[in-house]
Symmetry: C2
Subunit: 464 residues, 2 copies
Amino acid sequence: MIKNDTIIALATPSGIGAISVIRLSGEKSIDIVAAFFKSVRKGKSLNNQKSHTIHLGHIVSEETLLDEVLVSVFKNPKSYTGENVVEISCHGSKFIQQEIIQLFLKNGCRMADNGEFTMRAFLNGKMDLSQAEAVADVIASNSAASHQIAIQQMRGGITNELKELRAQLLDFAALIELELDFSGEDVEFADRRKFIALVTKIKLVLKRLIDSFSFGNAMKNGIPVAIIGAPNVGKSTLLNALLNEEKAIVSEIAGTTRDAIEDEIIIKGVAFRFIDTAGIRETKDIIESIGIEKAYQKAENAQLIIFLIDANKFRNAESSFLSEINTIRTRFPNKRVLVIANKTDTISSTNTINLQKEIENLILLSAKNNIGIEALKNELTSLVNTGALSNNDTIVTNSRHFEALNNALSAILSVQQGIDLEISTDLFSIDIRECLRHLGNITGEYDVDKDILGHIFSNFCIGK
Amino acid sequence: MIKNDTIIALATPSGIGAISVIRLSGEKSIDIVAAFFKSVRKGKSLNNQKSHTIHLGHIVSEETLLDEVLVSVFKNPKSYTGENVVEISCHGSKFIQQEIIQLFLKNGCRMADNGEFTMRAFLNGKMDLSQAEAVADVIASNSAASHQIAIQQMRGGITNELKELRAQLLDFAALIELELDFSGEDVEFADRRKFIALVTKIKLVLKRLIDSFSFGNAMKNGIPVAIIGAPNVGKSTLLNALLNEEKAIVSEIAGTTRDAIEDEIIIKGVAFRFIDTAGIRETKDIIESIGIEKAYQKAENAQLIIFLIDANKFRNAESSFLSEINTIRTRFPNKRVLVIANKTDTISSTNTINLQKEIENLILLSAKNNIGIEALKNELTSLVNTGALSNNDTIVTNSRHFEALNNALSAILSVQQGIDLEISTDLFSIDIRECLRHLGNITGEYDVDKDILGHIFSNFCIGK
């Protein structure tokens, strides 16, 4: 499966900047670049340089000087891919990038496929598959929480959890299969008590990892929060109040201009996706009913619901807030519902107190005047158990891993059932193999299907 | 003027990619990074590494692992700026870029100003001012021709032309001023014959450089070509035919997608800016007249005019093409006018021959059917004297240099006049000083005004 050709790609973002980096990987990469590199120091050749050294010189094609560059040399196996790697740091012009890449495409390189550098790193044993997959997550992560999860995975989080257990299970599988060879003789090589303990342990770890997925997924993609409420209670104003402030914070840092944040906000390192919905009220209008039904659907898909009420509508004990709130809580029994009273600047302090008496844990704010927004943010982040992000806990964010973990759990439950029912060893030994296969798929220890590999790395950018 | 603080900036284009490079420069840059860098090899510190070496490790801020990075170390004076320089190659995520830059901003760095790395390189004597200015041109160049001119300037093209002459003139200036000290004694330290030869030589070089500017400027910004002609002769179709083909060629290369090429086309390495105009005809309509006047203005500003006629309109000897062509040539006596007959696929071969007989150097094509477009391109590029781009000729593209060269020429002409009129030495010694000052301004040998420096580098991107 290991390819011996030399690949090339732009490693830095496309566009104009001070510098750009073009990366080559393959046995011949150093020779290929050396043929077109003229060092500023006479007689110096790239071919006999040490690994991890940088050289100033010119890339020259048929007497034409393409650029003054810095060339970094990394030698097999001490490189990202495990192969010889050359990084050419040139001026950040699209023209120069093209010219240099074209030069090497004509002279022994081919364009790298998406993620091919990382795929080679995996194939050459520089990282396991789950680590390779985490590289894309590290690049894509846009909040402290998702970044920390991705970095942990890149450092081998899930591998560390599973490797030892898989090795132990593999030992037992061998012993049990040995028993099968001696099936006529009623021997037990595998200590059943120890085996049952291992199966139980595997079951617990798998369950914990599987449980972490919904949290991990929310951290990776942003925790969906639906804002619902009657028309004109100020849902959009609240969304803007949340967005504007954070946008301003983000843009304080040079070069952070972001394409269409839309309704995603990072609050204290956690990404939230706020979903504005149509106003909810009883209506006979068919079109409006459809909009309200959609609002409920969005709330259904959210992890958290903000139910916004208009404090101004609170007049006396006959107010219908409680019944409204109950309707929502009944409709979404498994979701956390935050009740927030907006426009509190327009009501008397007596009414404010009465309102708070009527509704438990009510959050008061004025979105328009930016009052109480900070408190709401604190409430939101405190709801997210960031304690789960300690370095000792592995969080699963990858749906391929999630699926494999579920399959492994099914298999190990079958094994346990087999033990409990004292069925024939040869039957549950199939389940053990099945469990091993699914666990191995995560880290790539088990031969992974080429199509799956292709799919995984096709999500990478070229150059990684 | 040399600053001792440490600056930091993103050196690669902003956005998501495989890797990003963050650059620091300043005496303390290595120490600053070392404090947050944990090498993968235990006990290894950045502080005692050789220049031009690369180190794998982690950037860690308060126990939080920000990223796995490669750190390149360059030691004063062997670096781009001439100061200690560190380049951190991290994963190409905006979040990581921000986190790392923020970390170092809090720990002894400040954000670099636009072009500050290159300004430091100039102030530390790593390059002269004209070379520093060329760095921005190298990054901005988008055609082989403009790139080659910029690269040549970055390698010291104009400096090499002027340095020796300026040194010789400086010697004479000193001798002539010495004469002034002995003014009562009628001595001549400066050999007048040699001095006159030098002045003549300087004059010639300055004139040659000044003359190169209009060509250089066109190469840098694209040669403006106006397409004019009667309504419906196919001007826009021709423009599209020229554009489409080249666009397709450009997009063959991955990552070359360009923002709004509009009407700029690079043909065989030379950039042309095609300007489509309103149809020209005799009219009494006031609005239409204004449009036609604008078309003429555009033609006036162009370096080359394409006059397009509709071959289909050619019926017999009474055709008015010749008078039309004469009108254009009379209106623009100093411009090269290319006459092109479009829609030649619709006329008989006899008429084609007659047409060619009537109009000298006529180019025949059918823009709609893409016939003759290639020949037109050949004609266009042959009109541009690319021979002027040999490595021995310096082309001036920078308007600041152009202005300084003109000022230097005025001064040297005054010197010559002074010699011719045998006026008092003390009078033309002022003109010599003036000439020296303007020449020195180009390369920055003469103390350049801080405001001018600021202006020059403010056009750079941050990080360069």
